[in-house]
């Protein structure tokens, strides 16, 4: 069957958006199917994101806009997948598209309809804490920014009359006649990213959610904190809008609970979001807000999480109370909430809180479970999509991939990672039809305007009544005509409408305009559109300038039309003044080497190499040791109990036999030159002097791994019966008597992790210990297994191992870091002395074997970090470009990472991350040419004094001092155009194209004249 170079992505949350962008960038046409009226998913509802406290919308919105604008991403909103026929490479997907009742081509989101709509509805985006109209945009930054009618609440649909929206819509965009449509799409692959829903806290009746106004879910609390939320970011409680002084979080609501909700798994994200919410709530509060988190285990297992937890405890003063809360009681008068718990001394304490936040878990919605069944994708016992550890994004149906919370509860970076991994997997199956369905736009030749005096055309927009009802547009237009260099002025009803765009194009050509100013709305959303029009008219797109007389005049000065008009004139004057100084900017096309270098021959590195090869790219794989395999060589089972050696041998063989993969063992990187698309790396192969090999490559993936550390405590090294996890696995595999004959086994957790020298959780140890305990007890039920731990962090579905381990009789003793268990070697015997935290009594165990969960630590990554100009974090792991949304990228373009070099993680996550790195790398490699330049800095060598401050402040290593000439040079391929170097340059040698000193000074000057 013929393969199809298009992919359908179901779900427009962050995972779906990422997958869609990666695929569109690497040569596939994408249908992005979203059941809501706009993409964005749950992330768009969040306030801040852990562990960086980034504003969620701020980091998400650029991706949404990019998606909305991408020529090869077709967004189908209000739509859902009904059925999938066909097979891998060629599916027929049936999509049900619900009517919006608003013509997307005509709606300019002026908002008049919603203003006039008389029907108020609970706003689900604010979790019902605020109202919206029956005609609505999902949220202000929505993509696509188009209104939709909520049929269930629309007065016209319910009662047959009203149609106010239709009456007031200047653009005639309302269409009550729209009908449901069934669309058939032919695609080569499908990616499922439908997301999750939060657990319905009403089901746990004893917490009073739904009955007590001040008991809210964590998701509601996100909206309460959000500046664009129901209370504009003022932290108040729902019952009386009073600022709370005491807030409690109750963890594991709908997670790790089989009594009320049948969810035995851990939802993996709640501990971190609760800490974040507590910290942010404190920041929001003017008074000293008391925050308490009631938990079972704090599961801060991710990168930078433990430090975040520590800071919350130590700096922000968030209280952490290890107690499972049995119920919440409301005080009827105050509507305060009473919580009772036992403290460390086993005293019963009662505390009153103004608010209680329930940290609700994640679950797969029922509708999704039904859909999965219909399309033949199998789910696991928890209702999540079942995948293998070795193919973590492949569903049971070939050609259909999965990412995000549908694959299992997880946080944003993991979802983003899987999204890129799923994109990569989908692309791999369709490699031969890459580029067959994508569209490319062509433009007329650019008119050379050099030497011409400026001929500026000014287009003043009414934006329906958005501008015109406040700002006196004719007056502004008349004024614009008097400004220097202005040769043409026009007024538009809607500048952005298609017909106006066509007219603008004609005018630019007819009047020989060489600069264009549009006075309308915000360049953040509309500049690309008008620039596009300029290009279509044969004008360089940088000869365009905007004056924002809507968002900055009419909308914010509604009651002072004269002042708004005056201001609009000045903004136009400033824009015209700058426009006169605009110059056509050049975007340079660079060729690139369509191959990659992978550094590190562990599972992550080999997976990356295989995946790249599957996508049709040549790969050089460099391993510093003498064999491939990395840490996996010492591992027996995945967390899903799959056999690792069999998988590993297969992988090594396929890598070594792959004609597109060149493997260098005993090799290291010595020197690196070049930049994205055009790297040149020099390897030294072999021992001693070694042979030098130069590799040209367009991208590099760093997968240098990490290692188990050598414990320095608990008598390690003093007795052969005290071993590390990795040693334990090896002994067990070899059938060593120390394991085989051990009757009593003690595990000690957090050996070297979560300590000052390694203030991070090693992530894999708890699950490994629980899994090992189960195996030991299965082998011999008479054994005794003891686990000394601080928090059991069997996140996600690994909680099952913890549960089974307990059921099989493993005894768990929690210890405090100040009061660690002690290992005593005496008279040839081993003894572990600790304390049972729950009962408060001493515990002594005399084991035959002690297994230490030794921390995972990075190798010395500094040399490599310097060569590729990428950063490390404080602990020596590589630091990605953005912890939330760019988990496998570096800030340096063309360099990616995966596996343990990034942070400790289990095999399936390493594999997913490796595939993700490939997904991102291919987005670079698949483009034949790189477009660089435009708004970039440049250095004037005659002014440059070579002080190097530009180089020091550039986050992208785009500026460097030429050691010969001692003057700075800007690499346009690396420059992102922030201008930090420019303003740091004392001698004025650096300038930013499009935002140069003369241009900005001219605007300042024009304001005063």
């Amino acid at each position: 069957m013929e393969k199809v170079g298009a992919v359908l992505v179901a779900g427009g949350g962050i995972a779906g958006v990422q997958a869609a962008l990666d695929l569109a960038e690497s040569g596939y046409y994408v249908y992005l199917v979203e059941r809501n009226a706009a993409i964005g998913g749950v992330m768009s509802q969040l306030d801040k994101t852990f562990p960086t406290n980034d504003c969620s919308m701020c980091i998400l919105s650029p991706k949404l806009v990019e998606c909305g604008r991408h020529l090869n991403v077709e967004i189908l909103t209000l739509s859902e997948v009904v059925s999938i026929q066909g097979e891998e490479g060629n599916f027929q997907v049936e999509v049900l598209k619900h009517p919006r009742y608003v013509d997307e081509d005509k709606c300019v989101a002026c908002g008049v309809c919603a203003e006039k709509c008389p029907r108020k509805v609970d706003n689900p985006f604010d979790e019902g804490l605020s109202k919206r109209k029956a005609i609505y945009v999902l949220y202000p930054q929505a993509v696509p920014l188009k209104y939709a009618i909520d049929r269930d609440h629309c007065i016209y649909f319910q009662k047959g009359k009203c149609r106010a929206c239709e009456k007031f819509c200047e653009n005639k965009a309302i269409n009550f006649e729209q009908k449901e449509e069934r669309i058939r799409l032919n695609v080569g692959s499908v990616i499922l990213a439908p997301g999750f829903e939060v657990f319905d806290a009403r089901l746990i009746t004893y917490y009073g959610y739904g009955r007590f106004a001040n008991v809210v879910t964590s998701k509601e609390f996100e909206r309460i904190l959000s500046a664009s939320g129901p209370y504009q970011g003022h932290l108040v409680r729902p019952s009386d809008k009073r600022e709370p002084e005491r807030i409690a979080w109750i963890q594991c609501v709908g997670s790790r609970n089989i009594n009320q909700c049948d969810h035995s798994y851990c939802s993996a994200v709640c501990c971190m979001y609760a800490i974040k919410e507590a910290v942010i709530a404190k920041e929001h509060s003017d008074r000293l807000l008391d925050t308490a988190i009631f938990y079972m285990d704090m599961r801060t297992y991710g990168k930078e999480f433990e430090k975040y937890y520590n800071r919350a405890k130590e700096e922000s003063g968030v209280r952490f109370i290890p107690s499972r809360i049995h119920n919440v009681v409301e005080e009827p008068d105050t509507r305060n909430l009473l919580i009772r718990y036992t403290d460390n001394e086993r005293q019963v304490i009662e505390e009153t809180f103004d608010m209680v936040v329930l940290s609700v878990g994640l679950q797969t919605p029922r509708s999704l479970i039904e859909m999965a069944e219909k399309i033949g994708v199998s789910l696991d016992s928890h209702g999540f999509c079942s995948t293998s550890s070795f193919e973590p994004v492949a569903t049971s149906r070939p050609g259909i991939y999965v990412c995000g919370a549908f694959q299992g509860p997880k946080d944003i970076p993991q979802s983003v990672m899987e999204a890129s991994a799923a994109a990569s997997s989908a692309a791999a199956t369709l490699a031969e039809v890459r580029g067959t369905l994508v569209r490319e736009k062509t433009y007329p030749d650019e008119r050379n305007v050099a030497g011409e005096p400026p001929r500026i055309g000014v287009f003043v927009c009414n934006c329906g009544i958005n501008i015109g009802s406040v700002v006196n547009v004719p007056e502004v237009a008349e004024y614009a005509a008097t400004l220097p260099n202005v040769v043409f002025v026009d007024q538009n009803l809607f500048s952005c409408s298609q017909d106006t765009q066509d007219r603008m194009k004609a005018i630019i050509q007819e009047k020989k305009l060489n600069r264009v100013v549009v006075a309308s709305c915000t360049p953040r959303t509309h500049e690309p559109l008008f620039q596009e029009t300029c290009r279509e008219a044969g004008l360089n797109k940088y000869l365009f300038e905007m004056a924002n007389i809507r968002d900055q005049c009419s909308w914010v000065h509604m009651n002072s039309p004269e002042a708004a008009t005056e201001k609009a004139k000045e903004l136009v004057r400033m824009a015209v003044t700058k426009a006169a100084l605009l110059e056509p900017l050049r975007e340079v096309e660079l060729g690139l080497t369509q191959s990659a270098l992978v550094i590190g021959g562990g599972v992550a590195g080999m997976t990356a190499a295989k995946e790249l090869s599957a996508q049709g790219f040549e790969v050089v794989l460099v391993e510093k040791g003498d064999q491939l395999g990395g840490n996996a060589r010492f591992m027996r089972h995945t967390w899903k109990d799959e056999d690792i050696p069999t998988f590993l041998n297969g992988l090594i063989r396929s890598v070594e036999e792959d004609p597109r993969i060149t493997v260098y063992k005993n090799a290291q990187i010595k020197a690196v030159d070049g930049f994205v698309g055009n790297f040149k790396s020099t390897l030294v192969v072999g021992d001693g002097a070694g042979e030098e090999v130069t590799v040209e490559h367009g991208a590099v993936i760093i997968t240098t791994g990490a290692r188990e550390s050598q414990p320095s405590e608990y008598g390690y090294g003093e007795d052969p019966r005290i071993v590390t996890m990795q040693e334990f696995d090896r002994l067990a595999a070899q059938g060593d008597a120390r394991v085989k004959e051990a009757k009593t086994i003690a595990f000690i957790q957090c050996v070297g992790s979560r300590e000052p020298q390694r203030p991070y959780c090693s992530k894999v140890c708890c699950t490994h210990t629980c899994q090992s305990a189960v195996r030991l007890l299965e082998e011999n039920p008479d054994r005794e297994v003891f686990v000394f731990y601080r928090d059991i962090r069997t996140y996600g579905r690994n909680e099952d191992h913890y549960k089974v381990a307990r059921e099989k009789g493993t005894l768990f003793f929690r210890y405090d870091v100040e009061e660690k268990p002690r290992v005593i070697l005496e008279g040839g015997g081993l003894r572990v002395e600790g304390k049972d935290h729950v009962l408060g009594i001493p515990v002594t165990v005399e084991p035959d074997l002690i297994v230490l969960a030794a921390a995972i630590e990075p190798y010395d990554n500094r040399p490599l970090a310097q060569l590729y100009k990428v950063p490390l974090n404080d602990e020596g792991f590589f630091l990605e470009a953005h912890m939330k949304l760019r988990p496998v990228d570096f800030a340096t373009d063309g360099v990616f990472l995966a596996g343990l070099a990034h942070y400790p993680k289990p095999l399936d996550e390493s594999i997913a991350q490796a595939k993700a790195a490939v997904g991102r790398a291919v987005a670079v490699l698949a483009t034949q040419r790189l477009q660089v330049g435009g708004t970039v800095a440049y250095a004037d060598p005659t002014k440059c004094t070579g002080c190097g401050v530009c180089e020091m402040v550039c986050a992208y290593k785009a500026v460097h001092l030429n050691s010969e000439t001692l003057t700075s040079e800007v690499n346009e391929a690396l420059c992102k155009g922030c201008g930090t170097c420019v303003s740091s340059c004392r001698s004025g040698a650096l300038q930013l194209r499009g935002f140069s000193d003369p241009q900005i000074f001219s605007m300042i000057d024009s304001l005063s004249s």
């Binding site: 005659t942 002014k943 440059c944 004094t945 070579g946 002080c947 190097g948 401050v949 020091m952 402040v953 001092l961 001692l966 740091s984 004392r986 001698s987 004025g988 040698a989 000193d997 003369p998 000074f1001 001219s1002």
Partner: protein
Amino acid sequence: MDTRVERIRSEAKRLLESGEVDLVIGFRKGSIPMVSRPWFVRTVEDTELLHWDGFCSLNLCNYLTKRKEKVAVVAKGCDTRSLVGHIQENQIQREQVLVLGVPCEGMLDRRALQERAEGTEILEVVESDGRVEIRGRGLERSFPRQEVLQHCCRICRHRNPVLHDRLLSAEVEEHQVERYEDVEEIDSQSPEERWAYFQNMLSPCIRCYACRNVCPHCYCTECFVDCSRPQWVGKSLDLNDVFTFHLFRAFHMAGRCTDCGSCERACPVGIPLRVLTRKLEKVVSERWGFEAGTDLEQLPPLATYRPDDPQDFIK
């Protein structure tokens, strides 16, 4: 003769003879009293004119900018701090320069001495034993050295070279003196008073740019005041433009100025410019714990940051 002079000459001689350096930059006696002149020594004969006294205050780092040859330089504490800045800012390579460090007891203030001569021209100054004697027609007076030091030297905390390859005399004791009394006094005034103070202070400026040109850290090929595209600072003696020049000159010195005092000494009309640079010195020290030119490894304060830098002034 001062043993330091002998050491300077003999080191210079040795370095030139051995070919270790191509050039030695030091001082020779000036053509008039209370002045010394930078002296560029390339031959052994010329070493005989090398000199050292209480008037060797010019910052010789000024002459190192973008030199290509191997050069030895006679340097006081402040000169070496400027040198650290120069090395960090790639104006010279560390390997290229051999520092003949001279621990400094402070340089003498020519203007203060002249004032003490009460109208009589000083024709000779003799330094000995912590005292300074001035002589002229019918004039013979002597003062404790400490009383007639330059202001920058009186409040200096780095009299010993922070960087040197040879030390030409025993290190002198460093003093943790209060550096910002005058700055704090201005700080305590109202904006009106401060505005009036600086308008008054800057009004004699003739824009001869001596302050800029004697400063080792002002090495821009084109100074912002000379820039014509855009020419945002006027070039006349309009006090607003003069003010802007001094404002931005000082701003460009933030975290770089070592308070060597060159600018103030060079100013022919006697403007106390250092109050501006020391204000910023105080800011970078209080905010970021930074002291210019004391650590080759520490990035200049405006070329680095800490995520938790103080930001009380930002809404």
